[in-house]
Symmetry: C2
Subunit: 339 residues, 2 copies
């Protein structure tokens, strides 16, 4: 790369575009030699239903404690596939670059995309790069779209929760959103908060293999947090979900930062957590599987609530002092550009 | 929709996000009732290899003569699938909205996405919407990613050109890029230039059904235009391509506008054109198939050149006065944000 910043010409389709692709993007993302300059990637025939999901990432800042926009984009898409019970097969990467972006930043993001894809054993098979003039985007946006394969006949969806189901989470929540916010605002805290950014497909594989049809719902509580995702499940399944406040796992630095900033961790985004509605007889086994995948030294996987048949669409929380609090979706914006 | 502009809260994942999705985006794009709020769409098992392609669209202005960013995004992705010989199966739509975007503009773009998808008989099955603060994007960016199915064993790729192949184009070139440029700059011309924005999958289907293995390469000359795409094919196939200047079809208003602005239509983007390298014995039949799909009253499909075995990677043009001109890729930027 002769230039150390991105120029408009890198998006023109001409010689500069080819150089950017040949010298930086394709070698970093694919790890292979000369790229195939075709308009579409061709994948071998697969056996099984397909899962298909897309997400654009506009997180600010690009780099934050525990992750960056690159691994976020890969794990986010892998996790969305996993929530349908699918094994990730292939992903696409669409980049929108702002003129003037340091090439070093782009390189760092590409390396993170690649490392995350390697960790998930998913191939980045096709991509696109656009450049817009200074001031028409903010440094770098990424779209990742994924294809997954369902190698079972289970029907995992938000409408599958049933009365009696136990509601599980695989660890403490609120870390990703607070890590990004603290980093963006330059807040000084005594304890570092790290994003929980991580892939969930192996955990999901083990849950489905171990529990089969006892797994009713899987959802990752990203934007809007645990509260919004549970509210969506309650509505889709026409059930009530009752949470136990005393069971909710939140890391102390996250709880502290939320208290200072007047935020409720229930509404803060996560990028390595899943909520599962599990048939009651299988809940203990689900917890045990989640524990095998949980990092050491954290409040571990927990049963945080239960599904009830009456009051469809409602989420309520049994508070520490024995009251009941209704949980609603946020009306407006809590934390913009968190993913 | 209570607000007539997009607010940051429309991207929060909370109540405003749900309203935007439930009241505008999902009904317009899917035409169906309540959306399935799952993290991924699940598609039935398919028979055949899969094609997979992604493109982000950042065209400025959003609306231009002959099209807009919505139909451009659908046709662009359908065409990239078609260039691998695939029938489009499903597409995803990722929206990045700038705070303050008029909801009326978003609605118009969504309606165009939907109409284009209907025309191509492809389903929009999954999506994502992000909102960034004012000044952090330019109105609206779209990523469309597509899955297609290959229902044949042919291997259509840029490396497939062979000496003797005839190089065909299905109509005049340069219209899309000039339509966008004229519209963006507010130029006043005596004749209107319309984008050629159109889907090509049915033409490709007929070419593959009619000619089979005589179809060696299919590429759509978008960014970088006919010249850049031919240069890519010449390099990938390690052949030379000789163009005949007198055979090149350019609509007179496009030629006129290019002359005024000092642009070469060979490098201007197209969105409804394809270049095909066809075995010589099948070229006449390919032209006949292309003519059946060409709009009336235009310079029609044409053989514009031939593939040669020597001087691999070179593209040359036999000029009107009998000379030879080397065609190289553009070094820098010709027209930014053309797609």
């Amino acid at each position: 790369m002769k230039s150390d910043i991105i120029l408009l010409g890198h998006g023109s389709g001409g010689m500069l575009s080819h150089r950017l692709l040949d010298e930086l993007i394709v070698p970093t993302l694919s790890g292979i030699g000369p790229r195939e300059q075709n308009d579409a990637a061709v994948l071998p025939e697969v056996n099984g239903r397909l899962a298909f999901t897309t997400d654009s990432y506009v997180v600010d800042p690009l780099f934050f404690p525990g992750g960056d926009i690159g691994c976020l984009a890969v794990y986010g898409t892998v996790n969305d596939l996993a929530m349908a019970g699918a094994r990730p097969l292939a992903i696409s990467v669409g980049l929108i670059l702002e003129e003037g972006l340091p090439v070093a930043d782009l390189k760092r993001v590409l390396e993170s995309l690649r490392a995350a894809a390697d960790r998930c054993q998913v191939a980045i098979v096709t991509g696109d790069t656009k450049v817009v003039p200074r001031g028409k985007a903010d440094k770098l946006f990424i779209n990742t779209t994924g294809i997954g394969v369902l190698q079972h006949d289970l029907d995992i969806r938000g409408s599958g929760a049933r009365p009696g189901d136990q509601v599980l989470i695989n660890g403490p929540f609120g870390d990703h959103g607070m890590a990004v916010l603290v980093s963006r605002e330059g807040l000084e805290l005594t304890s570092a908060i790290m994003s929980d950014c991580a892939p969930l497909h192996e955990l999901v594989h083990d849950l489905l293999t171990g529990l089969g049809a006892a797994v009713h719902v899987l959802r990752d509580p990203t934007r809007g947090g645990v509260a919004t995702t549970l509210k969506e499940i309650a509505r889709q399944s026409d059930v009530a979900i009752i949470l136990n406040e005393t069971a909710l796992p939140v890391n102390p630095p996250v709880a502290g930062a939320c208290a200072i900033l007047g935020l409720d961790p229930l509404f803060v985004a996560n990028e390595g957590k899943l909520l599962a509605c599990i048939a009651p007889e299988a809940a203990a086994q689900a917890l045990a599987i989640m524990r095998r995948h949980a990092p050491a030294g954290e409040p571990g996987p927990t049963i945080i609530g239960e599904v009830h048949g009456e009051s469809g669409g409602k989420v309520r929380m049994r508070t520490a002092i024995g009251g009941m609090r209704a949980i609603e979706m946020l009306a407006g914006e809590q934390l913009p550009r968190i993913c």
